[in-house]
């Protein structure tokens, strides 16, 4: 039985720690990346079912990563964008580039977990 895999991409170590804790608590397998380029290579290696993707990243930003993930891995991979920038234009841009959901920081842990379940289609 393969467990659900979640890739966490954020350049803030503390946020990565909290997300990792939350995802592991749901029983998911996790991998992390602190910049855009690492995120893409981890996605190739780890084959995640879901990516929690921060927008403000070094190297490649979240939009570019999102675009590439969609191009390389199709629409099966769930992508939830996380950002401190909550502007409508950015939300629209992220969704247009193929993100499945959009969560603004600071987020409610319960809402985030709910959104993750929703995207993964799990109860």
């Amino acid at each position: 039985v393969t467990s659900t895999r979640v890739l966490i991409v954020d350049d803030e170590p503390n946020i990565v720690i909290s997300l990792e804790f939350l995802m592991k608590q749901q029983g998911y397998e996790t991998a992390t990346a602190a910049d855009g380029r690492t995120a893409l290579s981890e996605a190739d290696r780890f084959r995640p079912d879901l990516v929690l993707l921060d927008i403000t990243l070094p190297e490649l930003d979240g939009f570019q990563v999102c675009e590439q993930l969609r191009a390389e891995h199709g629409s099966d991979m769930g992508i939830i964008m996380l950002t401190a920038r909550g502007r409508e234009a950015e939300v629209a841009k992220g969704l247009a580039l193929g993100a499945d959901a959009y969560v603004t920081k600071p987020f409610s842990t319960r809402d985030l977990v709910g959104t993750v379940h929703e995207i993964l289609g799990t109860p």
């Binding site: 803030e12 503390n14 909290s18 997300l19 939350l22 602190a34 401190a84 920038r85 409610s108 842990t109």
Partner: protein, 930 residues
């Protein structure tokens, strides 16, 4: 001496003059002018010295001593004013092609033909006595020389006219002048040959007079000392060396004024000084040479007068002939002949130039305008309007000259010369016997002085009008005739003596020499006083009463087209000339179109427009209207007029109007230009300000957005871990502690961030409170290093500090400098090499600054980022705890103290952050609000 010898010698002399004149004209035609130098010019001005000077000065000196002097003092004084007066007259006469005094006056007062004619009449009548004077002198001296009878006064009044020497003198002078001055018609009315001959005559008369004077002083007497010594024992002669009791200062004043006017306004002086001038620089020579000439020719006047009084018995010999009579009596015919030739040259010079000048005036300002006027009147009557066979439509065609005005003009001038000389002879016969030479000359001087108010007033006063000049001249001339001319007739017996003594019809108040009871003045002073008073008075009053309205421009041009200005043969304008004028302002194509349209519209095979392409008045008017649009009405009028009539002289008022108009347009366009520049500048400033505001707005948006992002990041961690802790109360103690630690750290980070944002905005808005004191930067560096020791220990990095022993204190805020140091040190600790990290701090003195370098051995900063890291919220590293405000705040602080803050880095070889603080607290005092 036999009369034929005298005649032959005179004829030879005149022949030589003629040869010189001929040579001068030939040289001019060859383009090698002989008169183009200042000396010749000054000598030609000496035509002022006539036989009046040659003979009359001695006569006056024998009577009044120094009384002959004012006539030469006036011109000497006036010569000092030539520098600007004569030069400006020459300049404006050349510009406007003024060829006579009458031209000058008419030109100043709106080309008034009437005024020009009046001036001509006054000049002719006024100068006639003067001509008579020359005739009298030549014929008297001829008789004296011929008969050798010095004591016999010639009684020409009893001599039949046909046996009168003076008549033949007059006729031969007329013939000579005609051959001399009117051989051909010179367009510019200049006579170079004549000027050359006049200059020669000036030399001859000076040499002759000096010869006579030297002979009298050193030949008859034994030098000046002998003369003076002997004079002391003779009551008549002795009186000459004192200012005699009856010498009136008033009379001196009027004589000086008279002669000052005469040197400018005598027609012959105007002719040689202005019309014949080749180069205005020659005036510079004349200013000193001409007075010198006058001095030289007057040198022996008193010695000759004294000699004459000593040699001859009282009243036996006319003192006017002393200079001739003395050599004759002494038995020196050669000297006498020399003196006679000198006198002859003085007289002929005057007569030639004077009559030529008068002839120009009479033909150009009197006869031709009258003929044109007469012709126009004639043309209005149906009988005479039938076109003549040839030359129809041309000016003066009906007089049979078919447009060849040159022949007509020459004929008028020759007639004038003969007429003036005959008038002179008539005056000589009627009045010339009685008074002395000088008295006659002064009457002429007073006549030409009448021009002074109109000319000088016209130069200096814009308000002078044509009517003012006309009335003034008429009044002055009338008074002159009444108080000066008529009395000379009365004295000679031609008029009743009672006219002088009792006044006309016995009315005492009207006695011509004591007018309105004014007595105690000599006749000249009296006449000058009344004529000048009335002349100038009428000129000013009439001018002020009626400023005549300016005539519309088109009327003026129309009048000029018909050739009414009196200049012969210059009044036609071709269509082509107008086209050239238009082209200059409208462009070639437009000008062509306008004219062709006009010509088509007036297609008429008989019109002069079609046949000879001579423009008619309507076309001229249209051209003027077109030009007015481009250059304004006045300028258009002047330009069209300049084409229509090249001799169009400018009225002073018109010149002023052109200048006014032009300067107004210039002022408007300058103002407009200035306004539009201002507007452009204001627009540019506004645009700049707007861009700056937009930039600031964008920066502010970015700042707010950045701040909110930076705030959300720690908040995200805090909220997430708080919720995790809340939802998972059964977390293991180790994990729970780790999460709580993160919450605390992030809270601290949040606090720090908020503080720095506030700090930054205070720095940016300049509301920071600075605590300025004497700061030892060495201590600051050392204290900061100590504070960071623990940080470096944690990172396993080594910190070395290098501070020189004696560092000058600076005026600064110590806490702010510590803040900068801590920022740099914590950055260095963060970015130095993870293994074996090395950070060095160095303080030194560089020029007038203290300099601090903080060097780490980390990865360094790529060149593209070296400026970016000083911008707000642009953090250098990844995922650290920085706020992105540390470096911007530090740089603001250092800048506040007047220092510089920069980074040098080679990627992979570490980075050095440096700042300077000036030792002189320029920056500290600037913004400190302590």
């Amino acid at each position: 001496m036999s009369s034929w010898l005298v005649v032959v010698i005179s004829a030879c002399y005149l022949g030589i003059l003629f040869a010189v004149a001929y040579w001068g004209d030939r040289r001019k035609d060859a383009g090698r002018s002989v008169i183009s130098n200042g000396t010749i010019y000054a000598l030609s001005l000496a035509v002022y010295a006539t036989s009046w000077t040659f003979y009359g000065s001695v006569g006056r000196a024998a009577d009044t001593g120094a009384g002959f002097l004012p006539i030469y003092l006036g011109p000497t004084i006036m010569a000092a004013f030539w520098w600007f007066l004569l030069r400006s007259m020459i300049r404006s006469s050349k510009r406007h092609r003024i060829t006579s005094l009458a031209d000058l006056v008419a030109h100043r007062y709106g080309n008034s033909a009437v005024l020009g004619g009046l001036v001509t009449v006054i000049a002719v009548i006024g100068v006639v006595p003067y001509i008579a004077l020359q005739l009298k002198a030549v014929s008297d001296t001829f008789v004296v020389l011929n008969s050798g009878a010095v004591t016999v006064a010639p009684e020409s009044a009893t001599t039949p006219v046909l046996q009168d020497t003076a008549l033949y003198v007059a006729l031969s002078l007329a013939a000579f002048t005609i051959v001399f001055g009117t051989r051909h018609l010179d367009a510019s009315e200049r006579h170079e040959g004549m000027v050359a001959a006049i200059a020669l005559e000036s030399c001859v008369k000076l040499v002759a007079f000096l010869a006579g004077g030297l002979f009298v002083t050193f030949g008859i007497f034994d030098g000046v000392g002998d003369l003076v010594g002997r004079a002391a024992s003779n009551p008549d002669a002795a009186a000459l060396f004192t200012l005699q009791p009856h010498t009136s200062y008033q009379s001196w004043f009027w004589l000086i004024v008279l002669s000052m006017f005469a040197i400018l306004f005598l027609p012959r002086q105007f002719q040689v000084a202005v019309v014949e001038n080749v180069d205005e620089r020659h005036v510079n020579t004349a200013i000193w040479l001409f007075p010198l000439y006058l001095l030289a020719i007057n040198l022996f006047v008193l010695p000759i007068a004294v000699g004459g009084l000593l040699v001859f018995d009282h009243g036996d010999v006319n003192p006017d002939t002393f200079v001739l009579a003395l050599p004759i009596t002494a038995g020196q015919p050669l000297i006498a002949l020399t003196v006679f030739v000198g006198g002859l040259s003085a007289a002929t010079g005057m007569v030639i130039v004077e009559t030529i000048a008068l002839a120009t005036m009479v033909s150009n300002s009197l006869v031709l305008p009258s003929l044109l006027w007469f012709e126009r009147r004639l043309a209005r009557t149906p009988v005479a309007s039938a076109p003549a066979a040839t030359g129809a439509g041309l000016p003066l065609a009906s007089f049979g000259y078919g447009g060849d005005l040159g022949r007509l003009t020459l004929r008028i001038r020759r007639t004038t010369i003969v007429g003036v000389l005959l008038l002179g002879y008539a005056y000589f016969r009627l009045a010339g016997e009685g008074p002395a030479l000088v008295a006659i000359g002064l009457v002429s001087f007073a006549a030409v002085a009448q021009f002074a108010p109109a000319i000088i007033g016209g130069l200096l006063w814009r308000g002078g009008t044509r009517n003012g000049a006309l009335v003034g001249l008429l009044a002055g001339f009338a008074v002159w005739t009444y108080t000066l001319l008529l009395p000379t007739f009365a004295r000679s017996g031609w008029l009743s003596e009672s006219f002088l003594v009792e006044g006309p019809w016995g009315v005492g108040l009207l006695r011509p020499e004591q007018l309105f009871g004014l007595h105690g003045m000599d006749d000249i002073s009296h006449g000058m006083f009344w004529s000048m008073l009335l002349n100038a008075g009428c000129y000013v009053v009439v001018s002020m009463l009626g400023r005549e309205p300016r005539r519309p421009a088109t009327l003026r041009v129309g009048a000029e087209l018909t050739g009414l200005d009196g200049e012969p043969g210059l009044s036609r304008v071709s269509v082509d000339e107008l086209q050239i004028l238009l082209q200059r302002f409208l462009g070639t194509e437009a000008a062509k179109d306008v004219l062709e349209d006009y010509l088509r519209a007036r297609e008429n095979p008989d019109s002069p427009l079609a046949t000879s392409r001579v423009a008619d008045g309507e076309l001229v008017r249209q051209v003027e209207v077109l030009l007015s649009g481009a250059v304004g009405t006045t300028s258009a009028r002047v330009m069209v007029a300049s084409v229509v009539n090249e001799n169009e002289p400018l009225h002073v008022d018109e010149v002023m109007d052109i200048l006014d108009e032009a300067s107004q347009v210039l002022a408007y366009s300058r103002e407009l230009e200035r306004k539009s520049q201002e507007l452009e500048r204001a627009t540019a400033e506004l645009r700049e300000a707007n861009e700056r505001l937009q930039d600031l707005d964008r920066l502010k948006d970015e700042f707010v957005s950045s701040v909110s992002h930076e705030l959300r990041t720690p908040l995200t961690s805090i909220r997430a871990f708080s919720e995790i802790l809340l939802d998972n109360i059964d977390l293991p103690g180790e994990e729970r502690e780790k999460f709580l630690r993160i919450v605390v750290d992030e809270t601290e980070r949040l606090t720090r961030l908020i503080n720095q944002v506030l700090d930054m905005s205070k720095l940016a808005s300049g509301t920071v409170h600075w605590n300025i004191s004497d700061v030892d930067l060495g201590r600051v560096v050392e204290d900061s290093a100590t504070a960071c020791e623990q940080l470096f220990e944690q990172r396993g990095a080594q910190l070395t500090v290098s501070v020189p022993p004696h560092v000058p204190t600076i005026r600064a805020d110590r806490d702010r400098l510590v803040q900068v140091m801590l920022n740099l040190l914590s950055n260095a600790a963060k970015f130095c090499a993870p293994v074996d990290g090395q950070v060095s701090v160095k303080l030194g003195v560089e020029h007038d600054d203290l300099r601090v370098d903080v060097t780490d051995n980390g990865d360094g900063i790529p060149p593209t980022d070296q400026e970016r890291i000083f911008e707000r919220f642009q953090q250098g590293g990844n995922g650290d705890q920085g706020t992105g405000l540390g470096l911007p705040i530090s740089r603001e602080i250092i800048r506040h103290f007047g220092g510089r803050f920069w980074v040098q880095s080679t990627p992979w070889h570490g980075a050095t952050f440096s700042f300077t603080v000036p030792m002189q607290p320029i920056g500290a005092g600037r913004k400190a609000d302590v």
